[in-house]
């Protein structure tokens, strides 16, 4: 699915976190959002599946067109936006009281997408896609809390993929993980972009360089520059972008 953002503004109470964001994201690509802490990149991804408005006092204005449909139109039910636009959070948020299987099956059951044999197959397929099947296939009914941090994060990815979304939002998915687990998540992104449009927030510029087709640089709630990843890192047009990617600030 293609995403087109037009004049997007977002607030927390009276504090404006995003100022007039305009951006196009092509289908089946990986887009990295970079920028210093507090620049609005997390707020921006949370606007893409209408999660921002769940925060008390938060407000959004503007348009987000997904395949031409404005997800902020009055006729849209946020629940079904989120069902098609999956999200992976910074801290792995597996549900600790549920089994590994039930964590992945949760979204499928909630939406009544499958049951019985079909459900089992879908869960297995999702775990395969998230490259964690081999590690958990013998313990599907044990608590998800017993997994390592990296495994938990891949389980969260499996859970997000299980409802077969078209877009996957990832908010610093590897920042709480060790380098090996990080590498696994990055390889996963490269595989997943064959079927999904991926938007990933990252603090790690090498990571953006490795996985992203295009990179967007945020500063103080505005998009400063956006382009091919190689261009952003080697020939940035704006002074602020150059300062940031070369490590002179941020």
């Amino acid at each position: 699915m293609a995403i087109q953002v037009e004049h997007l503004n977002a607030w927390y109470d009276r504090t404006q976190a995003l100022h007039d964001i305009n951006l196009e994201i092509a289908p089946l690509s990986v887009t990295a959002l970079i920028g210093p802490s507090g620049c609005g990149k997390s707020t921006f991804v949370r606007c893409l599946n209408r999660l921002h408005e769940e925060i008390y006092g938060a407000r959004v204005q503007g348009k987000v067109l997904v395949d031409g449909v404005n997800i902020y139109a009055a006729s849209i039910i946020p629940m079904y936006v989120r069902r098609h636009i999956g999200m992976v959070f910074q801290q792995p948020n597996v549900l600790p009281t549920r089994s590994i299987f039930d964590n992945v099956a949760m979204g499928i059951r909630l939406n009544g997408l499958a049951s019985g044999k079909e459900l089992n197959d879908l869960v297995e397929h999702s775990l395969h896609q998230a490259a964690i099947w081999d590690e958990v296939k013998d313990r599907l009914n044990t608590s998800a809390a017993g997994l390592s941090g990296g495994q938990q994060q891949r389980l969260c990815i499996a859970r997000a993929l299980a409802v077969e979304p078209q877009i996957l939002l990832m908010d610093e998915p590897a920042s709480a993980l060790d380098p090996i687990a990080t590498l696994q998540i990055e390889e996963l992104m490269t595989t997943l972009k064959r079927n999904y449009t991926i938007v990933v927030v990252t603090h790690n510029m090498q990571q953006a360089g490795r996985v992203a087709d295009r990179t967007v640089f945020f500063l103080s709630g505005r998009i400063i520059e956006e382009g091919e990843t190689s261009q952003i890192f080697s020939r940035p047009e704006k002074r602020e972008t150059e300062d940031y990617v070369t490590g002179r600030f941020g």
Binding site: I55, V66, D67, G68, N70, Y80, G112
Partner: protein, 298 residues
Amino acid sequence: MTTSTAGVAKNPFQPNSRALDARRRGANILAITLTALFAVLAGAFLLYLIAYVASLGLKYINVNFFTQRPVAEGETGGGWATALQGTAVLVGLASLVGIPLGMATGVYLSEFGRGWLASVVRFLVDTLTGIPTIIFGLFAWVILVVPAHSFSALSGGVALSIIMIPTVARASEEVLRLVPRELREASVALGATESRTILRVVIPAARSGILTGIMLAIARVAGETAPLLMTAFGTTFFNTSILRPIDAIPLRIFDFTLSPFPSEQNQAYAGALVLMVLVILTSLAVRWATGGFRPRGR
């Protein structure tokens, strides 16, 4: 690839099944409505109670009520000043003993309490919470009233303080446990001792929770009647010594409710109203002081 022509595009964000969608959204609305309904109902009970007590008691609340001592039926004037004084003295005495003991117990249980001693203390504290309060009155009667051959404010204060201890201790323990380990480590990593860390970092972080626990304990003992019957006893005179009997709002309510005179019965409602307003004001003051009025979220 990009179709930016909004309006012609088909909405992909549709439920898979209309029936399931209707059921899910119906259940959602039902759940929200029910919680709101029950919340309003609970609030309505309280408001009705206050309104009922106020309707009978409000006309007896005037300057005399707060400044004069009770007079015999038939005389004009008279008030509850002795009861107000007594409740203030009794709650003050109880707080003086109950709050430090309760907080120290809470700190011990949360910060140092490992092993069998902590388990025993915790069990005893839990048991104390469940004991009927009249037993504490009986206890204070035996150890203070009987030897002194006199009812006294002191014995009432002691009975109430024992009631406060478990409430304050458990509330403090619970909120202190919620203080993240990282905060303690931040302080210890700077070379602070355990006790200094607890005093300067942990307790301040749990301040509003501890204050809430203390406030609940105070509100609870301010309304206690049974343990005061055989300790503070009640009197219609102002008290100048904590070794002499003292009046209390709940004791006076008890006394006047049993009175054969309608005017005294209605004055009992006035006393009940004052007691409720005092408890509500304490609650509001603590909320305000701890910043509890700020909206949650973020």
